[in-house]
């Protein structure tokens, strides 16, 4: 086997880098039809004609000047890791803008190959590109491809392998007399002092100094402050001169010349248009309606409400089938195994705990399918555009919208990628406000609990209630953000600039992959983490068990009842079915069942978890939560799915009135501690209290300080409890 070749994939956002990465490596990295989905870089390996290759998918950037985190990540990777070849993926339907980044790769000097992607879209728009001519003029290979179908990718990789023999060779672009002279002076100074030469080519450093690149300026100061000061003085002199004579900064002149260079290439017959270049495409026409200032928000609310209707209407039947399946499974285990800890663990810990979570798989799957349609079609990016207006009012940034949506803005997301997606925000204060409020969204883990409580207490109009609770989560998150931005995170707003992707017809394959990968993640989590926590909580709810004296007391009560009956009803109550037995036997059975239930409830109260729940009850009662609910809510800090599994376990172990085969929903509706007001208070608390354990770790990592993670846990819990108490007290007072 030949030596492994390292390749990097770079380009503008939404140019198709991750699609090409997945096509080549067979990976299933998430591809979204909105920019900025890749914030960090990902690696994948594949083999081409016996050659092993490692491909790195870098975040999409518009330039190599350190303006956002994506640009820093991409540039740092290229200069530090020095990949053997860089594949620059270029959107053929928007060649001029995409080549702006290419010019900077040429200046950096890395061995480059251009993948001219979406040539089919360009052709549909009447754009013809002569790849060979473009290649001759730029001096690098250009290969037309369609990343979605994989067309041209073999040729691309073959050409890329040949490029690895090329050394790093920076290319010179003229920036006009004034700047060219200064660049020569700067290069001389840089070379003389060996300034940053181990990382960047001299000309690249000179240009970045002229462009006032913060990161390079800082690095220069750290490495050699004397040379850095000399360079800065020269740059200031030429900047002042340009401002006086041309009323422009050097970076504006540089950009102007880069576009001039690109235009000079394209005008040499590289690109021809068959149609009028000014014409509006279907995508633009749709945007005129869907993003209209009045119609847009109305349509957006209708679409989101439709999504909830679809989810509940289609998932109702499969959810009930799964409920029956887990009920049957529970019955089978009950009849097959002898009484003891193993049977209790299997029924209460595994089947009722994990089954409660897995039972909602159809609902989660339909919700993910709906989200995948919105995302792949490009509509989610429009939602971000429209929501920006609202976000501004609450002190957040337009780029905060996507983290909110990813976290469960349209119920079903996850706060962990949502917290990570805040990296696209440049302002630390706006980022922190977003980071602390995204856990308020209804993530996929909260969905089953919300669906269960809504289905139990508000079954008449489930979709409407679900939609209302989604709106409440948005409202509370935005108000919390406003509070943070007006107090601890006060600061000025930063500009919002975003590129909207064109509308695309989602492919069946894409929808299937997106829906399945998210649903599988949910199932996997239920079968691993949630199963583990369920068993642990079962143990906490089972041990230390009742003292021997109490056990003997309950046994004595049972014997006292059975001894008062003759042998006939006793034998009958043990053998016959409920509907066939005599009145006396039925009474006996009821009496024994009552004692059994009292014993299980007492055992649960005496368990470690029960003691915690009871200890919290004096406070939690203010919001209407009993000790059993407290156990579930404490468990929910580990993962929100645990709330439902713990409730399932707690009710199956300490059942009071309900029948063993009843679903958790039915048991809750019969419990005198639960009613509509308690359900709303519980929903409010669950939606807004401490984020799950993984999210807390993620917040600490992203914020760079554990203080913020602890703030998130304490602030959210206090805030949620306050809201739940207000809801419960007012609700109870109103009756």
């Amino acid at each position: 086997m030949k030596q492994n070749i390292r390749m990097a994939l770079v380009g503008n956002p939404n140019a198709g880098k991750t699609t090409l990465f997945n096509t080549l490596t067979g990976a299933r990295q998430h591809v979204g039809n909105y920019p900025g989905i890749t914030v960090d870089y990902k690696e994948g390996s594949f083999t081409h004609n016996g050659q092993e290759l490692t491909l790195t998918d870098l975040p999409g950037t518009y330039s190599l000047t350190a303006y956002s985190v994506e640009e820093v990540v991409t540039r740092d990777y290229l200069v530090n890791e020095k990949p053997q070849v860089v594949i620059n993926i270029v959107d053929a339907s928007n060649l001029e803008r995409n080549l702006y980044l290419t010019t900077q790769f040429l200046e950096l000097g890395c061995p480059l190959i251009i993948a001219l992607n979406m040539i089919d879209t360009a052709r549909d728009r009447g754009i013809e590109i002569k790849a060979e001519k473009l290649s001759d003029l730029l001096g690098v290979p250009v290969v037309p491809i369609i990343a979605r179908s994989g067309k041209g990718t073999d040729e691309l990789i073959s050409q890329a392998i040949l490029q690895t023999a090329q050394p790093w060779q920076p290319c010179d672009i003229s920036y006009g007399e004034d700047l060219d002279e200064t660049i020569i002076e700067l290069i001389a100074l840089i070379s003389e002092n060996n300034f940053l030469s181990h990382t960047y080519p001299s000309r690249f450093t000179a240009i970045k100094y002229l462009e006032h690149d913060d990161q390079i300026l800082q690095k220069g100061q750290q490495e050699d402050s004397k040379t850095a000061a000399l360079l800065e003085a020269k740059v200031t002199r030429v900047s002042d001169h340009l401002l006086k004579t041309l009323d422009a900064y050097p970076e504006a002149i540089i950009a102007d010349h880069r576009y001039g260079y690109i235009k000079s290439i394209l005008r040499q017959g590289v690109q021809t248009h068959s149609f009028d270049t000014d014409r509006l495409y279907t995508s633009d026409k749709i945007d005129k309606i869907l993003t209209n200032r009045l119609l847009g928000p109305v349509i957006m609310l209708m679409i989101l409400f439709g999504l909830y209707q679809f989810t509940f209407a289609w998932s109702e039947l499969p959810v009930s089938w799964l409920g029956i399946l887990f009920g049957w499974l529970s019955g089978q285990v009950d009849s097959l195994l002898p009484d003891g800890p193993v049977k209790s663990m299997l029924i209460s810990g595994v089947i009722n705990g994990m089954g409660g979570v897995l039972g909602f798989v159809p609902l989660i799957m339909f919700m993910f399918l709906g989200i995948a349609v919105l995302e792949d079609s490009g509509y989610l990016a429009r939602v971000a555009f429209m929501m920006d207006r609202v976000f501004r009012i609450f002190g957040l940034h337009g780029s905060s919208v996507m983290p909110f949506i990813v976290s469960g803005g349209i119920a079903g997301g996850c706060a962990v990628p949502g917290v990570m997606a805040t990296r696209t925000l440049r302002s630390p204060k706006e980022r922190m406000a977003t980071l602390l409020t995204v856990p308020f969204m209804n993530c996929g883990a909260k969905m089953p609990v919300i669906a269960l409580l809504i289905g139990t207490f508000f079954s008449e109009n489930k979709a409407m209630y679900m939609f209302s609770f989604t709106l409440i989560s948005w409202m509370v998150a935005l108000l919390a953000a406003k509070f943070l931005r007006s107090t601890v995170l006060k600061g000025a707003a930063t500009p919002f600039v975003m590129e909207l992707p064109p509308y695309r017809f989602p492919t069946l394959r894409g929808l299937a992959i997106h829906t399945w990968e998210r649903t599988w993640q949910y199932i996997k989590k239920a079968g691993t983490v949630i199963l583990g926590i369920s068993i642990l909580l079962w143990a906490l709810m089972t041990y230390p068990g009742l003292p021997a004296a109490s056990l003997a007391d309950y046994e004595q009560q049972r014997q006292a009842i059975t001894s008062s009956f003759t042998s006939d009803p006793l034998a009958e109550s043990r053998s016959a079915a409920a509907e066939d037995i005599s009145e006396g036997a039925q009474f006996l059975r009821q009496q024994i069942l009552t004692i059994d239930n009292q014993q299980s409830e007492q055992a649960l109260r005496n368990s470690f978890a029960g003691r915690i729940g009871i200890a919290l009850e004096p406070v939690s009662r203010l919001a209407g939560f009993d000790w059993r609910t407290n156990i579930a809510l404490v468990g929910g800090v580990a993962a929100k799915e645990v709330i439902i599994s713990t409730l399932g376990t707690a009710y199956s172990m300490g059942k009071v009135e309900a029948d063993a085969s009843d679903s958790l929903g039915k048991q809750l509706s019969r419990d005198p501690n639960w009613n509509k007001v308690v359900a709303v208070a519980a929903l409010i608390f669950i939606m807004f209290y401490a984020p799950c354990f993984v999210t807390v770790i993620c917040i600490a990592k992203e914020a760079g300080h554990w203080g913020w993670a602890l703030f998130s846990v304490s602030f959210n819990t206090f805030f949620a409890f306050l809201l739940a108490t207000v809801v419960y007290q007012i609700g109870t007072w109103l009756g």
Binding site: Y67, N94, A252, K288, F385, R392, V497, M498, P501
Partner: protein, 103 residues
């Protein structure tokens, strides 16, 4: 809100209404993109503001001489425009710094 701020807001609103009710767009007249209330083609004359914004706009293709199609005029916070085949969202802070004229 102080009286001074209220007066300033009213005056801004009056300017916007005046601008939007104007029937003809004079060729050669240069105004900020944020003042454009109607969809249509415009030409970028200058990008003002700090050097970072100029550089950022240039990397997005927003630079003097380029023609843009305003798809959704600014509605209080941001506008939607088409440029070189892509659709861009710019907020009011940015559009105030882009000077345009009728194409």
């Amino acid at each position: 809100m102080t009286f001074k701020k209220l007066k300033h807001k009213c005056s801004c609103l009056a300017d916007r209404v005046k601008n939007c009710t104007r029937k003809t767009v004079y060729p050669g007249q240069i105004s900020p993109l944020s003042d454009s209330c109607r969809s249509g083609r415009l030409k970028i004359c200058k990008v003002t503001g700090d050097r970072k914004l100029c550089s950022r706009m240039a990397s997005l293709g927003v630079y003097p001489g380029e023609e843009i199609e305003l798809l959704c005029p600014e509605n209080g916070s941001q506008c939607l425009l088409k440029l070189q085949g892509t659709t861009l969202v710019l907020d009011s802070k940015t559009t105030r710094k882009i000077l345009v004229t009728a194409a």
